[in-house]
């Protein structure tokens, strides 16, 4: 594993810096949307919920896409010890993605939507994303070289890149009348694509997490082991065939549901096992050196088990019947997106962006407070969603159903807790990302001006 070289990695680091901005943006829209649950009609004339929701979802999905792209480029260079095949292609991809994200967010404000559940934008705006992703694929293949004797994370990155492209294209099959002219056909293909798409970006994140674990433990034993590949293939199998758990109540083919029931949601278990095995093998001194990254891995570890528990319960169709369409599904999504994906990506971001020309020392307390605020409030947030989901599930199955609006009033206490914990969580995340963002942006411009970068390897949590 080659040591990091900030200059060499500068373009790929920009992906992560942009991602942190998108995380902040996504949280802002999330809190605004939460407020609309509490104050009916809030911003209705200017930014109604049908605009706020895609603003939130797309910002957060692009946080994941940008940061995992930056992670793959950075770690690939560290893995091979060579430069990326083309820095120009990285820059072009970054420009394409950045302009596309801006255009997508503006399009929502202008009332232009793709109108799909749940990640959506106008098909025209999907074209540059596809183009940028093809550049990513080319750059990755050319940089990785031969796949012979590669560790598991290289396989995971390649799989993630390839399947994201396939599933993203698949998610736009609705533009053909053949696919969209019947709601059942349309939703079957739609959830086939989205279910696998989540699996594909998970491959990028989990692959990068395994690289980080190898880096911290200073050993590649695990990533070359048979167990790692066994778990990878099980994960890939899940990515390909477990998407049907989203559509158990849709009158689609039964075989889709049976296949999904049998194999769904073991991917989180896979990562839980990976992290658990890795942690036991790392010495305390090495842990301390990367303590910030380690802390986020520990947080993700806890969330894997909570989300796994919920996922297993929800994967049983008979139980899914109760949870489907309720906020329990949202709790699962939030646990996976924030508790697992975002914490893993923050671990990666702190590993990659911690060598800046400015010290993190003044932000030590801020980071610690932010870390605990984010974790505790996420747990409260998660519990409030489960509580709201249980009430809605009871309502959905009640024989004497009260009106929807009355049921929503019953959920109000949960929404209050959900909103307050959301605001606290955003505050916590901002405390974490602010120093990282500030130091890196300032040092990036200093680097651009002087061409030199004086590094202060530092972990604010240490």
């Amino acid at each position: 594993m080659a040591p990091s070289n900030s200059k060499q990695e500068a373009p790929s680091r920009l992906f992560i810096i942009a991602a942190l901005v998108l995380l902040g943006t996504g949280m802002f829209w999330g809190v605004t949307g939460g407020l609309q649950y509490l104050i009916p009609g809030f911003l209705k004339s200017y930014l109604p919920f049908q605009k706020i929701r895609p603003l939130h979802v797309s910002s957060v999905v692009f946080w994941i896409i940008f940061s995992s792209t930056g992670a793959v480029f950075t770690y690939l260079q560290q893995h091979t010890g060579k430069k990326i095949y083309s820095r120009l292609l990285i820059k072009i991809q970054l420009i394409i993605f950045s302009l596309s994200v801006i255009a997508i967010l503006i399009s929502y404000c202008a009332g232009i939507f793709g109108g799909r559940e749940y990640w959506e934008f106008h098909p025209i705006l999907a074209l540059p994303i596809v183009a940028g992703w093809i550049l990513f694929l080319i750059n990755f293949i050319k940089s990785a070289g031969s796949f012979r004797n590669q560790p598991v994370y290289v396989w995971m990155w390649f799989t993630g890149i390839l399947f994201f492209l396939f599933t993203f294209l698949e998610s736009y099959l609705w533009i053909f009348p053949y696919f969209r002219n019947n709601v059942v056909n349309d939703m079957t293909v739609q959830w086939k694509s989205y279910g696998a798409m989540v699996g594909s970006w998970n491959m990028l994140i989990y692959g990068s997490s395994i690289f980080l674990m190898d880096k911290i433990s200073n050993s590649k034993n695990y990533s070359h082991s048979s167990m790692a590949f066994l778990l990878y293939f099980i994960g890939l199998f899940n990515l390909m065939f477990n998407w049907g758990h989203h559509i158990y109540t849709l009158p689609t083919h039964n075989y889709i549901k049976h296949i999904s029931y049998a194999i769904s949601m073991t991917e989180l278990f896979i990562l839980g096992r990976i992290i658990f095995n890795w942690r036991a093998s790392v010495s305390a001194a090495k842990k301390n050196f990367h303590k910030t990254a380690y802390r986020f891995l520990v947080a993700a570890d806890a969330w894997i088990f909570l989300t796994l528990l919920l996922a297993i319960i929800m994967s049983v169709p008979g139980i899914n019947l109760y949870t489907h369409g309720t906020h329990i599904t949202v709790a699962h999504t939030m646990g996976a997106t924030i508790g697992i994906n975002s914490f893993l990506l923050l671990a990666i971001a702190f590993d990659i962006l911690n060598d800046t020309c400015l010290s993190f020392e003044p932000y030590k307390k801020l980071f610690n407070r932010g870390y605990w605020l984010a974790n505790i409030s996420l747990f409260v947030f998660w519990i409030s969603l489960i509580g709201a989901g249980v009430v809605k599930a009871k309502w959905q199955l009640s024989t004497s159903q009260i009106p929807f609006s009355s049921m929503m009033l019953q959920l109000r206490p949960f929404f209050i807790v959900f909103f307050i914990s959301g605001v606290v969580m955003m505050t916590g995340f901002l405390c974490i990302i602010y120093p990282l963002l500030k130091n890196n942006v300032l040092c990036y411009f200093k680097f651009k001006t002087t061409g030199k970068i004086q590094t202060h390897y530092y972990s604010p949590a240490a």
Binding site: N149, W155, P177, V189, S226, P251, P317, G318, I319, H324
Partner: protein, 133 residues
């Protein structure tokens, strides 16, 4: 356990299985012999154009701010839906849809209602954990 050759074979088999599954599904979609009116097709695009899914669900999939609309057409009728669409609510804006758009949207909601039942109360749970309607 996993030699390079075995890794390649497993990956190739999985990819072939996935592609076969995907194209098999594309060619044998659950609902065949679809005859859909122009109005229904237009209604789907109106549904997407105004991002109705952000707040409403169909078969339990969609937003959580408004009710699931899978069977609203068959249960409440077009006049009920029209009243909400044309006036909005405390939460939902009046989108100022013209008559053609309203009519198309109603046709689409009628089509959804005819596709099946989304109400979880209409399902029974089997001993093996699967569900059926």
């Amino acid at each position: 356990m996993f030699t390079e050759k075995r890794k390649n074979i497993i990956a190739a088999l999985l990819i072939v299985a996935f592609l076969s599954y995907s194209f098999f599904l594309y060619l044998s979609l659950p609902v065949k012999n679809i005859s859909v009116s122009k109005e229904t097709s237009k209604g789907k695009l109106v549904w997407q154009q105004y991002n109705c899914n952000a707040c409403h669900q169909v078969y339990g999939l969609g937003g959580y701010l408004g009710p699931d609309l899978t069977n609203t057409y068959s249960l409440r009728g077009p006049a009920y839906i029209k009243a909400f669409v044309q006036n909005g609510t405390a939460t939902m804006p009046n989108f100022d849809l013209n008559e053609k758009e309203v009519s198309a949207l109603l046709a689409y909601l009628r089509d959804i209602a005819a596709s099946g039942k989304g109400d979880p109360r209409t399902f029974t749970i089997n001993n093996n954990g699967t569900i059926q309607q």
